[in-house]
Symmetry: C2
Subunit: 341 residues, 2 copies
DNA sequence: TTCCCGAATGTAAGCGCTTACATCTGATTC
DNA sequence: GAATCAGATGTAAGCGCTTACATTCGGGAA
């Protein structure tokens, strides 16, 4: 592999520039401390040799890796891709690199991946949602790894988080739905078991209906995995299991798009025969036919600010603070009044 | 921060289990070598102490980080998100972690990010497209870092790659388009300057037209940045700059979706008044109205196989091999015959 | 001129782990 | 019962870098 010319080390550079390794190290890390002439000589040697510092050695000696980890359900969900892209950009500007692990929505994997990321040298972490073993947070605290929860915000939770209140946002949308006169609501949700975000959204609907004096059985809830096809299948199921349904509130836009497609395939007009809503406001939401009424979430801002906080925590030791971001309802064509008759 | 109980080290575990550090290390890395009784005792100590290995030390001593890097234009493009997600999954199964950098399509950033990734300890790399300084490949070779190009395949290039032939795939689609009788083609492409994939696609169209005996000026080419809105704007521009156009071939589906939207806004029926095609076959392509005729690319397979090759290269020293993946045309409604009259 | 001080540089001690090699144990063989 | 051997474990030498501390040197103050 690394045949004749072995990878150069700091010592090689030092020898070539006629200085000590300490000076080379200083040139690289705090150039201000080094006399200009020396510095140019050293940098030349670095270039000549094609030197690049050894990561492990640097991490070991400096006790930090300049790496931040994130555990994400999946990048295939545009919602995460968007937020994480912004997160990564901001991190890059601060000289940090992103380490990614994905859990494929399997909760038992999540905790393990957090540990893996820490073992892989993550200086700080971003976690999606609160849902994890308390011992995990202990572990992170003990190791001094700042961890910020994102995509969720719940004032009853103590861990610092940046996100929005899933429950309140969905409740707001549900209120709007009820104003349109709907009384029989179906909800197609992602599995709520291991997912505080999905759960919060369902609670929001429940609460809005409750406040409006509608009985619990007027909400028909079904849980399916993430996907367009599963959303489509769920719509068919809902309409046969709860035929009185006049509006289907979906836990996210992808499910809603699936539902929309199924409705079209079944010959139902949206919103004349059936209303459908989403959550997230992905690009697709606006492009769908009819365009989807949904909850807009500031994913990019969330990613950017999450990075900012983590970088500050790492560099200045600033403690993490919870931030609640505002969401807003995007009223488009997929929601309409209750069909007459 | 890491207050009273300092982070435990291998030595702490060894002491508690009453063995040497070597034994603990072996328990962790090759458990088979250790007597079962000893192993349970050690593992118990590991758990009691909440020990997790120090990454830097491990990397330094073992000379590898089990980390693979990728430089990606952006995760917000579903095409990359999909492939990278599959890549990451496969890597995870092999015990490797993914390090991500994104270039935001800025070529000058790319090379620097490759170096950063290497300095951050990436054992191997995945690069999108061939387009980079030759010295970069030298650098990687000298450091013994296997690097695989993805999303492209070009037999005239020597570097190992896994991907598809952008030129040939687009040429195939263009042939189909010409069969429909179109003679005045417009192409909305991503910037071809720093992007061999975009360039290949344009060449494919050129070549098909050439073979069909159509003059070069019958192709109107415009280049715009990635995005739905830019695609929409480009369509308006194309139709005013080249009014004879009867088909718009877009360099990717996102641009095509934008074009579709603009056409709708302009009151044009697709495909009756104007045909539009895409490339990539993202989810959106099938859901659009009308559904998009496009080139289907096996992104997930590409990601999975890229991971496989890199892992093999790392663990068995298997040399990287170029793989050409097949694409196929998905004929849907957005392409139709030339409008009469 | 002598002394002191700060800037520039050098010296060397780890950082926590892996691993080649050495040692020890008990079973197996003759 | 001695010799042999394999399996289990211990010893200790680094891996390449950062950084506290030591040293050197030149110039300004006294």
């Amino acid at each position: 592999m690394s045949s004749i010319p072995p990878v150069p080390t700091l010592a090689d550079v030092a020898r070539r520039a006629g200085v000590s390794t300490a000076t080379v190290s200083r040139c690289l890390n705090s150039p201000g401390q080094v006399n200009e002439g020396t510095r140019t000589r050293v940098m030349q040697a670095v270039r000549d040799l094609g030197y690049a510092p050894n990561f492990g050695a640097r991490a070991l000696a400096a006790k930090q890796t300049n790496t931040v980890g994130v555990v994400i359900p999946t990048m295939e969900n545009a919602v995460f891709a968007r937020g994480i892209q912004a997160f990564q950009n901001a991190l890059g500007h601060a000289g940090k690199t992103l380490l990614i692990a994905s859990s494929a929505y399997q909760p038992e994997l999540e905790d393990e991946q957090v540990r893996t990321l820490v073992a892989r040298g993550a200086d700080a972490l971003l976690l999606i949602g609160y849902e994890r073993e308390p011992s995990l947070f202990d572990f992170l605290a003990r190791r001094g790894v700042p961890a910020l929860v994102a995509w969720s915000f719940d004032e009853t939770q103590s861990h610092p988080a940046i996100g929005f209140d899933n429950r309140a946002s969905m409740e707001e949308l549900a209120r709007l739905v009820l104003q349109y006169g709907h009384t029989h609501v179906a909800c197609i949700s992602a599995p709520t078991g291991p997912n505080d975000r999905a759960r919060g959204r369902v609670q929001g609907i429940r609460h809005a209906m409750d406040s409006a004096g509608l009985p619990a059985q007027n909400l028909y809830l079904t849980e399916v995995d993430y996907g367009i096809d599963t959303g489509a299948a769920a719509l068919r199921h809902v309409l046969s299991a709860a035929p009185a349904t006049t509006v289907v509130m979906c836990g996210n836009d992808v499910l809603a798009i699936g539902a929309l497609r199924a409705a079209r395939e079944m010959g139902l007009r949206v919103p004349e025969d059936l209303s459908i809503t989403g959550f997230d406001d992905i690009d697709l939401a606006m492009l769908a036919e009819p365009a989807l009424t949904t909850v807009h979430v500031p994913h990019r801002e969330m990613g950017r600010r999450a990075a900012g906080q983590l970088v500050q925590a790492l560099e200045q030791g600033t403690p993490l603070k919870s931030v609640r971001l505002a969401t807003d309802i995007r009223v488009r064509q997929s929601l309409g009044p209750v069909p007459k008759g």
